[in-house]
């Protein structure tokens, strides 16, 4: 089963990228996520591994994932190493007015589970889809808030030397 959600964030791609590249942010903006921990020495980048779990129905499902594609400010993809089969992808594209279109793709399933597996994927999709939408809305709110805060700090910094 593959899910796809997108949103436009009023911030440049770099700001959005910085937010999604930092693993400690995931517990704050990804809806339904109960665990997102760095596994091993590498914190970010191609080959970084995370142990993640998301609550779906009666269980927290997920497992160990690895970053398999890493193009700063454009693309980040992960794939499962252990746990349920999953692939995820962030796609960031700058719009003509300087904002960022963010697309989140998520594919999941259990190979070999047969018809019950297919039914389970169907049953889980509304709840997972809703989690993805909420995650993008929370990402938008946090990044835009961060942009406003950064701009305010910059304006303050510009004013202060003049006042002195």
């Amino acid at each position: 089963m593959r899910l796809n959600e997108s949103i436009v964030i009023s911030a440049p791609p770099k700001l959005v990228w910085d937010h999604i590249a930092e693993p400690s942010n995931y517990l704050h903006f990804m809806s339904g996520i109960t665990r997102w921990e760095v596994e091993g020495e590498q914190r970010q980048g191609l080959g970084a591994r995370y142990r993640m779990l998301i609550r779906v129905g009666s269980a927290e499902v997920g497992g160990l994932i690895e970053i398999v594609e890493w193009q700063p400010e454009r693309e980040m993809a992960w794939s499962s190493v252990m746990g349920v089969d999953q692939r995820g992808r962030w796609r960031l594209r700058e719009t003509t007015d300087g904002r960022t279109r963010v697309e989140l793709r998520y594919a999941y399933g259990v190979a070999g589970a047969g018809i019950p597996g297919y039914i389970a994927e169907l049953v889980a999709s509304p709840s997972l889809g809703s989690n993805l939408r909420k995650s993008l809305q929370q990402l938008k709110r946090q990044v835009e808030h961060e942009r406003l805060r950064a701009e305010a700090a910059r304006r303050r910094a510009e004013r202060e030397p003049a006042e002195i």
């Binding site: 779990l53 779906v56 129905g57 009666s58 269980a59 927290e60 499902v61 997920g62 497992g63 160990l64 252990m82 746990g83 349920v84 259990v110 190979a111 070999g112 589970a113 047969g114 019950p116 597996g117 039914i119 389970a120 994927e121 049953v123 889980a124």
Partner: protein, 340 residues
């Protein structure tokens, strides 16, 4: 958790000792029957043929009994390799569907289970011979820690020796309840789920749903001390509302000597789908869709908490009290039994 007793020992004796049984029991029978052929007046040749056929039939019967005993014996031993993680992984979606849609299952605080190493999970048991709390917890544990982490459950001999369902639960990691099997699983570094209340607790009446009843069984404490593993209590509510359990039928079981023959201390009586009046629950039943909620309590390191030589009675009282309080809290938070 039950101790290894009659069935296992008898099966072991029969399974490994078919020759002595053949020599003693069967030759006695042959001696008693042999004169009949001679005395029947059919004649010596026919008598010899008759004796030959009788002997062959006895050998076949003895082989069949020995082979059946060996099969039962094998199932009662903890063959931890029976657990098939890939098979289990492929069944998780089905378990998830049942747990989510039918039982609206909820398992809380799995993070209280130590991330690595052997651990003894001690649960209260509900639901008769179809126990939703076990498979909901198996699903939750396997999803949370991954099927790569070894996880076994102890079950009554009857459950693991049944021809079809027994094979399935063994592939899921269930082994026959015995101290030796439990030791073996913990020594292998597995997480082990035990239900000290066993058949006594699982068939308690529905109106005792919010009652922990281990029947004074403290073997799990000795096991945790011997293996130096932490105990993690696991408390569930809802399973006892999947049928209307009326009585354990313990007196009836004693009267029929089921405790001696099959290690069954109860002969439960319930109203269950599809049977109506269900005596024994040997064929299981279709569980009603009661909401099942499970809470995992913080790990208890016995020697850290109770000193170098903990008193089993004190530990037992502490654990059962803690579990009882949690069960009452889970009961109180529900608006209605069954619905949740």
């Amino acid at each position: 958790m039950a101790d290894p007793s009659t069935v296992a020992d008898q099966a072991r004796a029969n399974g490994n000792g078919s020759a002595p049984a053949d020599a003693s029991g069967h030759s006695g029978l042959r001696d008693r029957l042999a004169p009949l052929g001679a005395a029947s007046g059919i004649g010596a040749p026919l008598g010899r043929i008759g004796r030959g056929l009788l002997s062959a039939a006895q050998d076949v019967a003895a082989d069949a009994a020995g082979s059946a005993a060996r099969r039962v014996n094998k199932r009662l031993r903890a063959d931890l390799d029976d657990r098939d993680p890939d098979w289990l992984r492929e069944r998780l979606p089905l378990l998830w569907l049942l747990a989510t849609i039918w039982f609206r299952g909820e398992v809380r605080n799995l993070g209280n289970i130590p991330e690595k190493g052997a651990v003894l999970l001690v649960g209260n048991h509900s639901g008769g011979n179809v126990t939703p709390d076990t498979f909901i917890f198996t699903l939750a544990f396997s999803s949370y820690f991954g099927i790569e982490r070894k996880f076994h459950q102890l079950a009554h001999n009857l459950v693991v020796t049944l021809p079809v369902s027994g094979a399935l639960v063994r592939r899921g990691g269930t082994v026959a309840a015995s101290h030796k099997n439990a030791q073996k699983a913990l020594e292998a570094g597995a997480a082990l789920l035990v239900y000290p209340g066993g058949d006594w607790e699982v068939h308690r009446p529905t109106w005792d749903s919010a009652k922990v009843d281990f029947a004074g069984r403290k073997g799990f404490i000795r096991l945790a001390l011997d293996q130096e593993v932490p105990i993690v209590p696991v408390v569930s509510i809802g399973g006892q509302e999947t049928a209307l359990f009326l009585s354990r039928g313990d007196r009836l079981a004693r009267a029929l000597q089921l405790d001696k023959i099959f290690r069954l201390k109860v002969l439960p009586i319930s109203l269950a789908v599809p049977w109506g009046l269900n005596v024994g629950d040997f064929l299981g039943h279709v569980p009603l869709p009661a909401k099942v909620t499970t809470e995992v309590l913080p790990a208890i390191n016995l020697r850290e908490q109770f000193g170098p030589d903990p008193e089993p009675d004190e530990v037992y009282d502490h654990i059962t009290r803690q579990m009882q309080e949690t069960l009452e809290a889970l009961d109180a938070e529900r608006r209605y039994p069954f619905i949740g």
